[in-house]
């Protein structure tokens, strides 16, 4: 059924001489997203094994699990760092700026969930911006506390205990945050598909992100 509709749209779009798709994410953004996602899942899984006693006992091999966890933690920032390191960064940087900047509509997204569709929304909504900031902040906190747990000099024992508490709290918080992100992705197939293929139906954008739809038409996807 939905396939039929899409074919009709393609036919109409073709006759009117323009594409029914809008570019949402370029290949750099998609590679950064999925490599970061895989590393994050590896970190959550190995972290759970190191942290939860019943999993520690079931899996064992602590040195190997800890080694993967530490390696993954150091590697976590690489995709983003490489993504902004060269001339291929333009689209990624533009989206990072979009995630950073909040308009009145983004706050409204939280206040009136029932009327979200009427908002003059840009590429990302308030919830997506909050999620992005939360995960970015979480990555900074986990990296800092993790480095102190693993590499601080022995006389920092007081701060190591604090870093352990922070890292444990961060595990639970990030675990919930990532679960929410995955839930939203799986329940919004157009957006999930756009992170795989890079494009999203123009009709989706007109309805859900009208401000961005105009930006994309004028060459600022």
């Amino acid at each position: 059924m939905s396939l039929r509709i899409r074919q009709d749209e393609v036919a109409r779009g073709a006759t009117r001489g323009h594409n029914i798709w809008l570019d949402r994410f370029d290949v750099v953004e998609r590679v950064v997203h999925w490599t970061t996602a895989i590393l994050m899942l590896v970190l959550l899984a190995t972290g759970a094994i190191l942290y939860i006693p019943s999993l520690s006992i079931a899996v064992g091999h602590r040195a190997a699990v800890a080694g993967i966890h530490v390696f993954g933690g150091i590697a976590l920032l690489l995709p983003l760092a490489l993504g902004v390191a060269g001339p291929w960064r333009q689209r990624l940087l533009r989206d990072l700026r979009r995630l950073d900047c909040w308009s009145a509509a983004d706050w409204e997204w939280f206040r009136r969930p029932g009327r979200r569709l009427g908002l003059a929304r840009g590429k990302f909504n308030g919830g997506q911006k909050a999620e992005a900031a939360f995960v970015a902040g979480g990555m900074v906190v986990m990296l800092a506390s993790g480095v102190i747990m693993g590499y601080a000099p022995a006389r920092w024992i007081y701060w190591q205990q604090g870093a352990t508490l922070v890292h444990d709290c961060g595990f639970v918080a990030l675990g919930i945050g990532i679960a929410v992100h995955i839930y939203y992705g799986l329940t919004r197939p157009e957006q999930l598909r756009s992170m795989l293929t890079g494009r999203i139906p123009r009709s989706w954008a007109a309805k859900n992100a009208p401000v961005w739809a105009e930006e994309a038409e004028s060459g600022q996807p």
């Binding site: 190191l50 942290y51 939860i52 006693p53 019943s54 520690s56 006992i57 899996v59 064992g60 091999h61 602590r62 040195a63 995630l99 950073d100 900047c101 909040w102 308009s103 009145a104 983004d106 911006k129 909050a130 992005a132 900031a133 939360f134 970015a136 902040g137 979480g138 900074v140 906190v141 800092a144 506390s145 102190i148 747990m149 693993g150 000099p153 022995a154 006389r155 024992i157 007081y158 701060w159 190591q160 205990q161 604090g162 870093a163 352990t164 508490l165 922070v166 444990d168 709290c169 961060g170 595990f171 639970v172």
Partner: protein, 228 residues
Amino acid sequence: MSSNGETHVGRRAVLGMAALGAAGIAFGASIDNAVGGTLTRLSNDLGALGALVPGADEFRIYTVTGSIPVISPASYRLRVGGMVKSPLELSLDDLRAMKRTRLVHYFQCVTGWRVPSVHWEGVQLSEILSHAGATESATALRFLSGDGVYTESLTMSQAQLPDVLVADRMIGDDVTPDHGGPVRLYVAPMYGYKSIKWLDRIEVSDTVVPGYWENFGYPVNGWIGGVA
């Protein structure tokens, strides 16, 4: 505030989280010590989910092999050999017939977690060594775990400290398999990795052989806080 009425909320949120994390690292130990007891009760009340509660005063169970060794208390023997005048093979009953030592002391992991006020009971390592009679030139001990992989080391002078126990009871019960039972080492002034679990054999020698985690970079002299 930029010209189009937008504000940089995202970067402020990231900086705010970083500041919160820094405060947690700076003061978390005091918070942990103050509310650890409450969090432990909460953790116990939550059942299976309780393992997720941060800051609870609970042991984390470490094993470097694929499983927890289960050693029968009845057939257990602690072997003490190497540079000693009389090699020993001590059963659990032998250990319980020797001079017993009890102490209450925290367990501190090198990565930062600690369990306060753990009750330990067993035989001082120095007591066992006096029965075996280390030779004049013996300067070091090597400990081998029943898991077949883990090893640890102490110098002879460290082994003589009064708060180094060959423990067969902790937390008011026989040492469980998860905690390294039936018999483990407890080196109170050093990080947890020195307190080898499933203690199987003690070899007295004249060379300190770095233990399992020490080959991954942990200090051979694992004094808590880095000072003797």
